[in-house]
């Protein structure tokens, strides 16, 4: 059997392709990937322990900062669990505004992802165009909530700011512009030759594997898995709106792109329905500082997939346990399966295809299993060790480096 030579190159934790710290050590033979060893946890800030030392009201703002892009998802999921424990019934108008923000966040998150996907395959023009259009929805969010990213709209028992009729017209105008642009992107994604052949056939996951490995959100729906928390486990104002869940059977990165684009169109439909049917009345009710003892498990359809929170309270004003499982964690398990026998050049786009948000993931867990068919490494062994050694020497202890450098200067 010809001695196969494979060597491992570390990608991350600091790497231009990965916006956040996660490390993949990729076993390569030439350009083909044999196995991937994913190491996360660099962004673990111990949020669960911190939650236990703060009051419920302070926790709303802490949980909101689990992730920059999907901040409203986490805070809504958390607040829903607390409201369920204290069985407060949030006024209808508050639920409508909360759902409006959920969909606005989905629009800005999907547009952001589309740009990053374009950047990963070297197509920066798509990044610039999508992020230019994303400014429309960011301005709407800033106008409504006072901040572009961490909106801070949720509080226990409802919403903090109301929405005036002029603002409603403003949002509707914004939606028409965005719908126009999204139609253009759907057209580009289905005709642009270089994009299609760079995306199709990449990161393939069959429907059975998607269910077995627990994929969630657009990644699962692109493989035909019919799951959407907004329809299966409706919360906030979703029971009153009609929308259809986008399914696709491409099973690959191209399918995920199409699913996300069509979900954008659905979001515009939902937002218009919400704004047409928004009832009058109060937007929040006064919540008690001490939450009665109890536990609740809430699920939410974040832009990346199913976000899950478990809250347990013991009657004081501080929660006893808060567990957050972000959607990206479920999808990271699928990435290793997707990367087998692909090219190194596909790696960034496959990782980006699940739209990873590792600040969410590190809030909870990572995966590490190494490829079972261990290849014995022959020719490149010296290279691999030299590479890792060189990185470790320069990577971690700078003091030794400076001393040696000074010594060389004196020489």
């Amino acid at each position: 059997m010809a001695q196969s030579n494979s060597f491992k190159i570390p990608i991350g934790p600091q790497h231009p392709a990965l916006k956040e710290p996660e490390s993949f050590s990729v076993a390569l033979r030439g350009e083909k990937i044999l196995g991937v060893d994913i190491r996360l946890g660099y962004n673990h800030r111990g949020i669960e322990k911190a939650c236990e030392e703060r009051t419920f009201l302070q926790d709303v703002y802490l949980i909101e900062r689990v992730c920059g892009i999907c901040s409203h998802s986490h805070s809504t999921c958390f607040v829903q669990a607390v409201e369920e424990i204290a069985n407060l019934d949030v006024p209808k108008r508050g639920l409508y505004i909360r759902t409006l923000f959920a969909e606005l966040e989905r629009v800005h998150s999907h547009l952001l992802w589309l740009g990053v996907a374009g950047h990963e395959i070297g197509f920066d023009t798509l990044l610039m165009y999508t992020w230019k259009d994303r400014e429309v929805v960011m301005d709407i969010l800033a106008m409504l909530s006072g901040n572009r990213v961490n909106y801070g709209m949720n509080t226990i028992g409802g919403v903090r700011r109301d929405i005036s009729p002029e603002q409603i017209q403003e949002v509707l105008k914004g939606m028409d512009i965005l719908e126009e642009k999204t139609k253009y992107y759907i057209e580009v994604a289905s005709q642009e030759a270089t994009i299609i052949n760079r995306l199709s056939g990449v990161g393939v996951v069959s429907k059975e594997d998607a269910i077995r490995l627990g994929a969630v959100g657009p990644t699962a729906r692109a493989s035909g898995v019919d799951r959407d928390m907004r329809r299966d486990d409706p919360y906030a104002a979703y029971p009153d709106v009609q929308f259809d869940v986008i399914l696709d059977d491409h099973n690959d990165v191209y399918g995920r792109t199409v699913v996300r684009l069509k979900e954008l169109m659905e979001s515009y439909k939902i937002i218009r329905q919400l704004l047409k049917k928004i009832p009058d009345g109060p937007i929040a009710i006064k919540a008690p500082r001490k939450i009665p003892a109890g536990e609740a498990f809430s699920r939410y359809e974040a832009p990346r997939g199913e976000d899950v929170h478990y809250v347990k309270s013991n009657g004081t004003e501080k929660p006893e346990r808060v567990k957050v499982r972000a959607p990206t964690l479920a999808n990271v398990q699928v990435v290793k399966h997707m990367l087998k026998d692909r090219y190194l050049a596909d790696m960034p786009i496959v990782i980006a295809a699940i739209d990873p948000c590792f600040s969410c993931t590190d809030r909870s867990i990572a995966l590490h299993r190494h490829d079972s068919r261990k290849r014995d490494v022959v020719i490149w062994e010296t290279v691999r060790l030299a590479g890792i050694e060189w990185y470790k020497k320069n990577g971690i202890d700078f003091t030794a480096l400076n001393k040696r450098f000074m010594a060389r200067l004196q020489k």
Partner: protein, 117 residues
């Protein structure tokens, strides 16, 4: 794609030269806090609700209070503005608060009556 690219090339670019050209911020933007010492009754609700212990109310005389805000810790969520029963706190639209010296991050709103005496 070419048609759109040429159109974008003809019309004005979307980016701005930031320090020289500033963008107008919306009315309700949550930036640096503003404190009205005369309205404050010293109930310290804002201190209890602040997620990052960024605000500190000190009693400096009969019915006079002074607020010391640590901009380094503040996350600009404006929860204190909501929790304050007397509306003594307000969020301005000023967001350019970077400082070279860490001490300058502590803003103290002195009570005007003290200065007069």
């Amino acid at each position: 794609m070419l048609k759109v690219a040429v159109q974008t090339a003809c019309c004005a670019p979307a980016t701005l030269l930031y320090p020289f050209v500033k963008r107008q911020r919306p009315k309700g933007f949550r930036g640096m806090l503003k404190f009205y010492p005369e309205k404050c009754i010293g109930c310290k609700m804002c201190m209890r609700d602040c997620p990052s212990n960024a605000i500190n109310i000190k009693k400096v005389g009969e019915k006079q209070f002074e607020a010391e805000i640590n901009l380094g810790r503040c996350i600009y969520c404006a929860q204190c503005v909501d929790s304050c029963p007397k509306k003594a706190l307000e969020a301005t639209t000023n967001f350019e608060l970077a400082q070279v010296d860490k001490k300058k991050l502590h803003i103290t709103f002195v009570n005007p009556k003290n200065e007069v005496e």
